[in-house]
């Protein structure tokens, strides 16, 4: 009988504690942050796998965890949200960071060697291989032993036989 209201007090404390413990985000539904919109995220990812992180140059912006890539991803999300097309977004980045951000360099006079260099090198290699093989075949056909060489060879063979007989 000392604690008449004990149950009531306990109930109140219990509810208060529950409120404090429960994560805040369950209280009310908040607006989804841009980063969590799956559509935007999908487009952003599709764009950034072909973009180079300038800080960590062998990683794409999609893979990189560098601060720089974070910023670019955020920028791209915002631009997608602002209804920019993929082309406009890529152009935006190229205007600021140059073609170097693109993993697929555009075909331009300065990049012709880059695009066709390997093919040209392959052709040169193929050409020299053909020339080499032809020349070798001709050499093989041309080589015939002179009479002296034949005599010499026979002498050597005979010598061998003699040696064995002895």
């Amino acid at each position: 009988m000392i604690c008449q209201f004990c149950n009531v007090v306990r109930a109140i404390i219990f509810t208060l504690v529950l409120f404090l413990v429960s994560p805040f985000n369950t209280w009310a539904k908040e607006a989804i942050p841009v980063a969590e919109d799956p559509e935007i995220e999908k487009r952003m990812l599709a764009l950034t796998v072909d973009l180079r992180c300038l800080v960590c140059q062998n990683e794409s912006i999609a893979d990189s965890r560098a601060e720089f890539s974070n910023d670019i991803r955020r920028e791209i999300r915002e631009q997608i949200k602002a209804n920019k097309t993929d082309k406009e977004i890529v152009q935006f980045l190229v205007d600021r960071y140059g073609d170097f951000v693109l993993y697929n360099p555009p075909m331009k006079p300065t990049t012709i060697l880059l695009w066709f260099g390997p093919v040209i090198l392959f052709m040169i290699g193929l050409g020299s291989l053909v020339v080499y093989l032809r020349r070798r075949r001709l050499q093989i056909e041309d080589v015939a032993l002179s009479p002296e060489q034949i005599n010499e060879a026979e002498a050597l063979l005979n010598e061998d036989k003699k040696g064995k007989n002895v």
Binding site: D71, I72, E75, R96, Y97, G98
Partner: protein
């Protein structure tokens, strides 16, 4: 004879290409902004946050925009040089305080000296993206018409200052 000369020749060509490759710095990505108008900005100042500085304020003079941050270690390397340059009065240097915290930035300037005519604050790095910043420090030389004439990626050095930046500033200042 050809047999020995050909591989040697091929080796020499390869060696020359590799040698040239060694001297190139992959971190130096040529900026597409050279000879283009400097991106416009309107940013709050670091010392007097209620004041705004616009990029147009500097039209008519040659100026430098130095991107710095208190968290940037390499900025400390170039800082004495910038202070020296600012003291010489050759060119006004404006600081773009990039993705920094105001108090630490102010403390940093107190500690290492403040070469900046004005420092402006780019909290979220948006103006940084406009300028193609990817590694702090970066320094831009902007001419009287507001065109970017030079971009130094990484710390300013005595060498880069004497060989490139100072002669360029002189040339730009002599232009109408």
């Amino acid at each position: 004879m050809m047999r020995y000369l050909m591989p040697l020749a091929i080796f020499m060509v390869l060696a020359v290409f590799l040698l040239v490759g060694l001297t190139l710095n992959p971190r130096q990505v040529p900026s597409p902004l050279i000879d283009k108008p400097a991106p416009k900005f309107q940013l709050n100042q670091l010392h007097e946050p209620e004041k705004i500085m616009s990029s147009d304020d500097n039209l008519g003079k040659v100026w430098m925009l130095n991107v710095w941050a208190s968290w940037c270690v390499a900025c400390r390397d170039e800082h004495p040089l910038l202070v020296q340059l600012a003291n010489s009065g050759i060119i006004p240097i404006y600081g773009l305080n990039y993705k920094d915290e105001r108090n630490t930035a102010l403390q940093w300037l107190k500690r290492y000296g403040d070469p900046y005519a004005i420092s402006i604050v780019d909290v979220d790095g948006k103006v940084g993206i406009d300028y193609g910043v990817y590694g702090v420090p970066e320094t831009y030389v902007i001419d009287k018409k507001g065109i970017i004439r030079h971009k130094q990626i990484g710390p300013v050095t005595v060498d880069s200052l004497e060989k490139t930046i100072l002669p360029l500033i002189k040339e730009l200042q002599n232009q109408a």
